[in-house]
Amino acid sequence: MARNKFNIDEELDVPFNWEQFRRSLSYIKKYWKQFAAMFSLSLLASFLALLTPKIQAHIIDRMIPAKLTNWIIVLGIGYFLVNIATIFINRARSLIGVKTSQSVIADMRTDVFAHLQKLGFDYYDSRPHGKILTRVINYVNNVSDFLTNGLLSAVLQLLSLILILGFMLSISVKMTLVVLAGLPLFLVYLRLTRPKQRKYRQKSANKQSNVTAYLSENINGVKVTQAFTREEMNAGIFDGLLAESRKYKLYSAYIGHGMWPISAFLSRIVKAAVFAAAVYLFRNDFIINGVVQIGAITAMVSYSNRFWGPIQQLGMVYNQLMDAMSYLERIFQVLDEPVTVEDGPNAVDMPEIRGDVSFENVEFEYEKGVPVIKGVSFEVKAGESIALVGPTGAGKSTIISLLSRFYNVTGGAIKIDGRNLAGVTLSSLRRQMGVMQQDTFIFAGNILENIRYGRLDATDEECMAAARAVHADDFISKMENGYLTPTNERGEGLSAGQKQLISFARTLLSDPRILILDEATSSVDTNTERLVQEGIAALLKGRTSFIVAHRLSTIRNCDRIFYIDGGVIAESGSHDELMAAGGLYHELYTSQLREVFGEG
């Protein structure tokens, strides 16, 4: 499993390609109508915007020499109206643009989020969570502007280039060629800087992601840092990450900021060339009745300025494109993350589970070549309760994870009521399993909402009944706001035992057909634990249960005990049978008794 930590840059093996570009276009396809509208409006606006130099030239060349004061004022009003029209057309376009771009981001973010819901534990276990978060939130935000405004602007600028070209051609073909001569120089500049630009953008995005990941992890682990007085050292590491990120951001700025000055200077060269060419090369073209048409030359200069405007804009879009591509790569990377556990092509829904469970020579490995479960077989009848005991890391938690198909077995088969789990839909299976994991997780909200997470349509009364069954009611009702006591992420402020009881109530509320308790009550005091067991006994009558626990009191009451060691079942049987057999379990149990009650 390729794991990632805060200071490891994530490898990007997706090169810039048209495929990826096309793929990002698929997000805007849905809004083609809006794009068409924006496009038409912009076209109109750019056309109107191009009229203004024409009007200006007309006033200077015709009206002023003819001294037509009234006509100047009329044209001036016309000029104003054209401008106002342009402004409001642009406004209408922006309105559509804003809504569309926001919709595109929302769509893309939903896709990423929905895909994340399909990914297995291994995805989340192998990288800092801050890096995942950044993709869903920040990267998508960064891409949105490019996908709507950037792309549209690119198309529009190209179009206005063509329009300007038309206007220029209408004045003088030769002069137009002079204006165009500057273009190849700019393209050469782009071509030369592109690879570096791209490299630095990527680096910079990576470094920023490292910064966020480290920050997020340190906030989550702040107590450990304080307990181990590592504050200064971590701040030093953080400073290092920041310095790296600054370095690449600046590198990329050195190139990125060069775009405007280069094109601005080029535009001036072109402007000078226009003058020079008009005077030295094509002077005759501008002479009408023996007078040089200065208006025509200045109009040409003005168009050449306007010609470089779009070129500069295109340069900016290009910068945006570079940015967006490095973000898109990471977004698509999430979307391309293979779903390891998913419904098979012919998967059917699991009917209501009775509770017969069988493992047939089940093998499993998290990482290739490192088997964790090495051929486990057993049969459990509906209604049986099974305790899994054995050394830490022997594979107990893995066995019960396989039961809910959180992972696919690498060998053998698991069957519930005779149906192979590989052939049923995940949701129909997991919905009927009540799994309480080692890591309790409390959501931000309140206690009641946290319990209700187990069954969303449960009434308040049902939630409270579940809490009473696991004796969580005792401490909840003592709190100032009772069940409505706010909880924050991870349940800071609640004790570990309280969190376990709340998640237990949540599991119970889901009314599982098979109950799986993985150290569900390890931090709960023994008395409460006994009360919990009594409380849930009636509720779970006739349901199969698997319990991983280390307290003998929890284990002893189970129908059968599997002693797991080294990925296989070393012993199995009831407490009395295993005690009589005098094996590993017997040794475990008696040594405990000796320990507590002394030799006697």
């Binding site: 794991r3 930590k5 805060f6 002023i64 001294k67 037509l68 004061t69 100047i72 001036g76 406004r91 804003v98 939903t110 989020f113 994340l116 399909k118 534990f121 276990d125 192998s126 969570h129 995942i132 939130i137 920040n138 990941a213 920050l215 992890e217 906030i219 702040v222 307990a227 953080f238 920041l242 600054r246 900021h257 280069i262 601005a264 060269i269 005077v279 200065i294 490192v370 890391g393 994991q437 959501f443 969303l456 401490f475 100032e480 800071e492 570990a496 309280q498 998640s503 931090s523 005091d525 023994t526 008395n527 280390h550 003998l552 009451n557 475990l588 320990e595 507590v596 002394g598 006697g600």
Partner: protein, 581 residues
């Protein structure tokens, strides 16, 4: 003041910002000069057809253009350098603050929110420093230059143009006032969205277990849509006022052109001057057009810096004492004198008196929520007592510098947190320079060596954030090894072996007892086997000590401890009696 506060982070890079502004000013100067050259080009070269002057003139124009482009580049680069520097310093300072804040801050603030302050909000400040400051100077100067140019030709004319500006100012001001709350709303919604995603990621196991993917997507969609709406709202405000500002700007151009043309007809100004006016209309307009954008950025800046400063100036309640009264070397005597602690009215600890001699081991048991973890917290000063005092070697913990106090205590926490780093780095977390032998020795003492070696990269294996992917018992043992590596005089183990099987736990206990340097040890546990060998066992209930004594003494008392023992081993009364003898 917010601006000064933001700029101070540049430190000596402030000079670069000044330099950037200087280049900016020079740039504006060159930009103002340029049209004169072109105007002269028309009036003195083109009109009289003195084309022999053309080339030198164009040469001058190009030189000015080149200098202008260079100034622009330098402005951008220097401002960016200064801003980036300020940003990383600010981020570093915020990080240090976060490392100093106590648990109640983290209880009151969402992680997503905090991260957002340090990233998104700081980026807004970055944009302010690198873009808004130089641009504002540039536009202000541009406006001044343009006005000066117009004035130099005709003051009446200038006045006519300037009549329009007050309207722009009024509109711009109104825009700013409306935008501020809209941006706050966007920010707030972003933090909601962040929280939902963050929780979904860290709670992914629960989501899968309860098949709540669709529910989560719905929850996410609600916030996602909300974020979209808020963004649109903010933009709508922008779209309401923007066109008015644009129209006013356009009015300037129109008046300029029409009035200028009429004046030219009348012969008050030359054609070259008219051209100059037309060129400078841009310099009058641009600042007005950009005014809205700048106001927008300034509003965002204020909204963000507010958040950042709130974090930066947040009170740290648990601080170093004025004077350090701590002993030179900590032995590890712990005494709690009448210690009480209240959380919002409820008493978590209630008049605790407890003495632990250096080198002793004390076991702490009690029902869920009885105050066991709180007890550990007040010793390591993660919370300060509300009454009484906690003393180590006779000195109140509040008189120890925090570094020294916490440096003397090795603490394992119930909620094990491992960093996404190698196993080795995790164990050596408290003592990064410790030799590998010490890491190995501590891993062995915590009975973690075997399973670590069995992992694909052994001690170099990178574990997931919080240690996901490891079993509960494995995490606990790494966390124990991490505490042992610190080799502190006081060791507090909070629920450290609850997920460890009994065999392993016994091995760990034996190894702990065999350790050469004996730490004062507090073991908080639910299992009797965890505290069985302690010198003293304390039972807490509702923040009070209800039983205290050795294993044998408490067994004889037949109270909570005895009952727990019997229950945990599923024994009838008789068995318990037999054991007692």
């Amino acid at each position: 003041m917010a601006y000064k506060w933001a700029i101070q982070w540049m430190g000596k890079y402030k000079r670069r910002l000044v330099l950037a502004i200087i280049f900016d000013i020079v740039g504006v100067g060159l930009m103002t000069w340029e049209p004169y050259i072109f105007s002269a080009l028309i009036d003195d070269v083109m009109m009289p057809q003195r084309f022999e002057l053309l080339l030198p003139m164009l040469g001058k124009a190009l030189l000015v253009g080149l200098a202008f482009a260079a100034c622009r580049y330098l402005t951008n680069i220097l401002a960016e350098q200064a801003a980036e520097t300020a940003i990383i310093r600010l981020k570093g300072a915020l990080f240090r603050k976060l490392m100093a804040l106590q648990p109640d801050y983290y209880r009151a603030n969402k992680v997503g929110d905090i991260i957002n302050k340090c990233t998104g909000d700081v980026e807004v400040i970055n944009r302010f420093l690198s873009w808004v400051i130089p641009k504002s100077v540039e536009f202000a100067l541009m406006l001044v230059c343009a006005i000066a140019v117009f004035m130099s030709v005709s003051w009446q004319y200038t006045l006519a143009l300037l009549c329009i500006t007050p309207f722009t100012a009024v509109i711009a001001n109104r825009l700013g006032k409306k935008l501020h709350p809209a941006f706050r709303a966007v920010r707030k919604q972003l933090s909601e969205l962040n929280t939902v995603v963050q929780e979904n990621i860290s709670g992914n196991r629960v989501v899968r277990a309860f098949v709540r993917e669709d529910y989560e997507i719905d929850k996410f969609q609600k916030e996602n849509r909300g974020y979209k709406e808020r963004n649109i709202q903010a933009n709508l405000i922008w779209l309401r006022y923007g066109p008015i500002i644009d129209s006013l700007a356009s009015l300037i151009t129109v008046v300029n052109l029409t009035l200028g043309a009429v004046l030219t007809v009348k012969g008050s100004i030359t054609l070259g001057e008219l051209n100059l006016f037309l060129t400078f209309a841009w310099a009058l307009n641009e600042p007005m057009l950009m005014l809205g954008m700048i106001i927008n950025e300034v509003q965002r800046f204020h909204a963000s810096i507010e958040k950042v400063r709130e974090l930066y100036y947040h009170d740290v309640d648990i601080r170093d004492p004025e004077t350090d009264k701590s002993p030179a070397a900590v032995k590890g005597d712990i005494r709690l004198e009448n210690v009480s602690l209240s959380y919002g009215g409820a008493r978590a600890l209630d008049g605790i008196n407890l003495e632990i001699k250096a080198g002793q081991t004390v076991g702490v048991m009690g029902p869920t929520g009885s105050g066991k973890t709180t007890l550990a917290s007040v010793i390591a000063r993660f919370a300060d007592v509300t009454e009484g005092s906690v003393k180590i070697d006779g000195v109140d913990v509040r008189d120890y510098p925090l570094r020294k106090l916490r440096g003397s205590i090795a603490l394992t926490m119930q909620d094990v947190f491992l960093f996404s780093d190698t196993v080795e780095s995790n164990i050596a977390y408290g003592v990064p320079d410790t030799p590998m032998e010490n890491v190995l020795a501590c891993a062995r003492a915590a009975d973690a060596d075997d399973f670590i070696r069995a992992m694909p990269d052994g001690y170099d294996t990178i574990v997931g954030e919080r240690g996901t992917g490891l079993s509960g018992g494995q995490k606990q043992r790494i966390s124990l090894a991490r505490a042992l590596a610190k080799n502190a005089p006081i060791l507090i183990l909070d629920d450290t072996t609850s997920a460890v099987d009994m065999e392993t736990e016994r091995r760990i206990q034996e190894r702990l007892r065999e350790r050469p340097a004996k730490s004062t040890t507090i073991i908080i546990a639910q299992r009797v086997t965890s505290v069985r060998h302690a010198d003293k066992i304390v039972i807490l209930d509702r923040g009070r000590i209800v039983e205290e004594g050795s294993h044998e003494e408490l067994m004889r008392r037949r109270g909570y401890y005895y009952k727990t023992c019997a229950m945990q081993h599923g024994l009838a009364e008789s068995a318990a009696k037999g054991g007692e003898g």
